[in-house]
């Protein structure tokens, strides 16, 4: 047990890999315990989860451990990946370790997706529909892929059963095999030394240099370096337990009932970025992005150590690497944050539960107030906010009269445009007049309304135009 590692490898930055392994072990144990009661049947899964939550001693805590464990797992795996990337640990001779690691990442996301399906509530049911819709876009084979994924024509018992088999047998089996391979290579090739700016990796010299470093300036892994891994593992498990105890388990939310069309599905946090991306991509770009994007990204990740296997390891000399990681982090963070309040979704009950602010109704004529009524009845409030209440899909209309003239308002309401549907068929001329009348009053005090400059000029008559050469009437 005298496996020497570079002294610099005993760093807190290096604990994420073992942390992921510990969480994997935790998930296996909690998963087995959950499987003692969980029923993977479409008709009974939800009931068995309720039994776990309420009828079994500390069942809710166990569910919480497993659910929060999965959240922490994705986070730790991503941290580990970023650390390995920033420290150049994917370079020679550890290319295959990186490749296996990418496969592990894919398997982890697979566990995340199949796991949230097993919760089999409303979100899981409609989430499966979203997955099937994405899978159907595969060219030529689309419908067949969907039937394979669902195990039949619809999301039903066969679907849950095959996701159960994937989540409990297939993917964990692959994970165990890949983790053993990953660990074997770490043992064989040694832990990456702390990168030094200027100390380049060269295939011809690295192996000898590393060997010298480890035997000259190395320490046995146990106990010199391992204590930090063990300590971090304890912190991780304690944090997961605290989250489980304080926040409780995740759902289940409503029953997986396809006839409940009031459902507003949401994925677990690790897929929120995809939720935002699918809402914001231009429609025609979506299918190419979904089919080609993952291939390009995976191809790039897998090719990384073979394209950049030599050279600088330190992030201080790798600006492209640093900027790439920052870019990805900011993008993922922004998308995830947007999905926390989904500005693109109409608020389905705003038209009936968010009132028009009093300030928008005071000192209005009867026609303008009728227009406010039309605004509510036609669900305008679902997409447009007034006084910070209502949907955010369209622009807030508190000052719309300063931006659009009467003609523009009439045209926008009747013909729509951009992300707005046309309301012409569902508004009578009287309703349109009232609605536009109301909208024309929506401007802050002291700001003048939008002005049609050419109309004003035309109303003054041609004689008063400075460039006019027409004779006076």
């Amino acid at each position: 047990m005298d496996h020497p590692v570079p002294k610099s490898a005993a760093s807190w930055f290096y604990v994420f890999g073992s942390g992921a392994l510990v969480i994997f072990g935790l998930q296996v144990v909690t998963g087995i315990l959950l499987a003692l009661l969980y029923v993977p049947s479409a008709g009974e899964a939800w009931n068995s989860l309720q039994a776990l939550n309420h009828d079994v001693a500390l069942g809710w805590f166990l569910r919480g451990m497993h659910g929060w464990g999965s959240n922490f797992m994705v986070a730790i795996v991503l941290l580990h990946m970023v650390q390995v990337f920033m420290f150049g640990a994917y370079k020679f001779p550890r290319e295959l370790t990186w490749v296996v690691g990418i496969c592990l990442l894919l398997m982890t996301m697979g566990m995340a997706f199949t796991g949230q399906v097993l919760r089999f509530d409303q979100d899981a049911y409609w989430g499966l529909g979203i997955g099937a819709s994405i899978a159907s876009r595969v060219p030529v084979m689309g419908p067949q892929v969907v039937h394979l994924m669902l195990g039949g024509p619809i999301i039903a018992g066969a679907t849950l059963s095959r996701f159960f088999a994937l989540h409990v047998f297939v993917i964990p089996g692959i994970l165990i095999g890949l983790v053993c391979l990953h660990l074997l290579m770490v043992l064989k090739l040694g832990i990456n030394e702390w990168p030094m700016p200027g100390r380049l990796v060269r295939r011809s010299t690295y192996l000898k240099d590393y060997h010298d470093l480890v035997h000259k300036d190395g320490e046995p892994f146990v106990p010199y370096a391992i204590w930090k891994d063990v300590f971090f593992a304890g912190i991780l498990i304690a944090c997961i337990a605290l989250c489980a105890a304080y926040f409780g388990p995740f759902g289940p939310s409503g029953r997986p009932d396809p006839t409940n069309i009031q459902a507003i599905p949401r994925p677990d946090y690790f897929f929120l970025w995809l939720y935002a991306l699918l809402a914001l991509l231009p429609p025609s770009m979506e299918t190419p992005a979904l089919l080609i994007g993952p291939v390009v990204i995976l191809g790039g990740l897998l090719a990384l150590p073979f394209l950049f296997g030599e050279g600088e390891k330190s992030w201080k000399r790798r600006p492209v690497a640093v900027i790439s990681v920052l870019l990805v982090a900011v993008a993922l963070g922004t998308f995830t944050h947007l999905s926390s309040y989904t500005p693109w979704s109409p608020i389905m009950d705003a038209w009936s539960s968010d009132p028009i602010p009093d300030t928008d109704l005071a000192h209005r004529t009867a026609l303008e107030r009728q227009g406010a009524l039309v605004f509510q009845q036609k669900q305008c409030h679902n997409c447009h906010s007034l006084g910070n209440e209502g949907g955010m899909r369209g622009p807030a209309l508190d000052s719309v009269a300063t931006r659009l003239t009467q003609d523009q308002l009439i045209r926008q309401v009747i013909q729509g445009g951009g992300n707005m549907p046309a309301y012409g068929k569902n508004l009578s001329p009287a309703q349109t007049t009232a609605l536009v009348g109301f909208l024309e009053t929506l401007r802050p005090a002291g700001q003048s309304p939008a002005r049609n400059a050419s109309e004003a000029l035309a109303e003054q008559g041609p004689a008063s135009s400075p460039n006019s050469s027409a004779p006076k009437p």
Binding site: S41, A42, G43, E44, Y125, W126, G129, I130, A132, S133, I134, S136, G142, P143, Q144, V146, H147, L148, L150, G151, G152, P153, I154, I155, A156, G157, A158, R255, P256, D257, P258, T259, N260, I261, Q262, A263, I264, P265, Y275, L278, A279, P283, E286, T287, W344, S345, P346, M348, W351, Q377, Q379, N382, Q415, G416, G418, N419, P421, A422, K425, N426
Partner: protein, 181 residues
């Protein structure tokens, strides 16, 4: 028997043993792969959709769009509520019907009908459709999925049974353009 002869006999028997295993493996692979691919094969052979009655046509008054639910024709006993499927039935003018799937044509979330504004709205990514199912705004690239239907003896019959998806089968490909696009 000399050593050479017994070695070559042994080698030959080894080859035969491996070949026999290969044959057994291939023969066994057929039902295993057939089992794995059965959802695909069944769709090809019999199709998943069939005709069944949704209810009396008089249940759907003219000029209105109403939610109807049915038990999927292909359902297992343990499917529970997941085999109860909903659809939007629009009676256009008393004799013509349109039956829409509740699944948004973008990614399948359930769309809601608002009779006041005559719009279907999807809660997930903001897709919207007009009364006739054509695309109004948002991420969907096409109008709502429609089911083939007919009226026989005052009953509304629908040809359904499979989850509609954007890349789905030809019967769902009734692409509707926006009215003024």
């Amino acid at each position: 028997m000399s050593d050479q002869e017994s070695l070559s006999r042994r080698a030959a028997l080894t080859k035969i043993a491996f070949a026999f295993n290969a044959v057994v493996g291939v023969v066994l692979a057929v039902p295993v792969i057939g089992y794995l691919l059965s959802p695909m094969v069944r769709a090809r052979k019999n199709g998943y959709t069939s005709w069944f009655a949704l209810g009396a046509a008089s249940n759907f008054p003219a000029g209105q769009t109403r939610l109807a639910t049915y038990r999927n024709p292909i359902a297992n006993a343990w499917d529970g509520q997941t085999a109860d499927i909903a659809c939007w039935v629009r009676n256009v003018d008393g004799s013509q019907f349109q039956i829409f799937a509740v699944n948004c044509a973008h990614l399948g979330c359930p769309v809601r009908w608002f009779p006041q504004s005559g719009l279907f709205m999807c809660p997930c990514h903001g897709g919207a459709y007009y009364e006739d199912g054509s695309r109004a705004s948002g991420p969907p690239e096409r109008g709502l999925f429609t089911y083939n239907h007919k009226i026989e003896n005052g009953q509304l019959w629908i040809d359904a049974g499979s989850l509609p998806t954007p890349g789905g089968s030809a019967s769902n490909r009734a692409k509707n353009g926006a009215p003024c696009a």
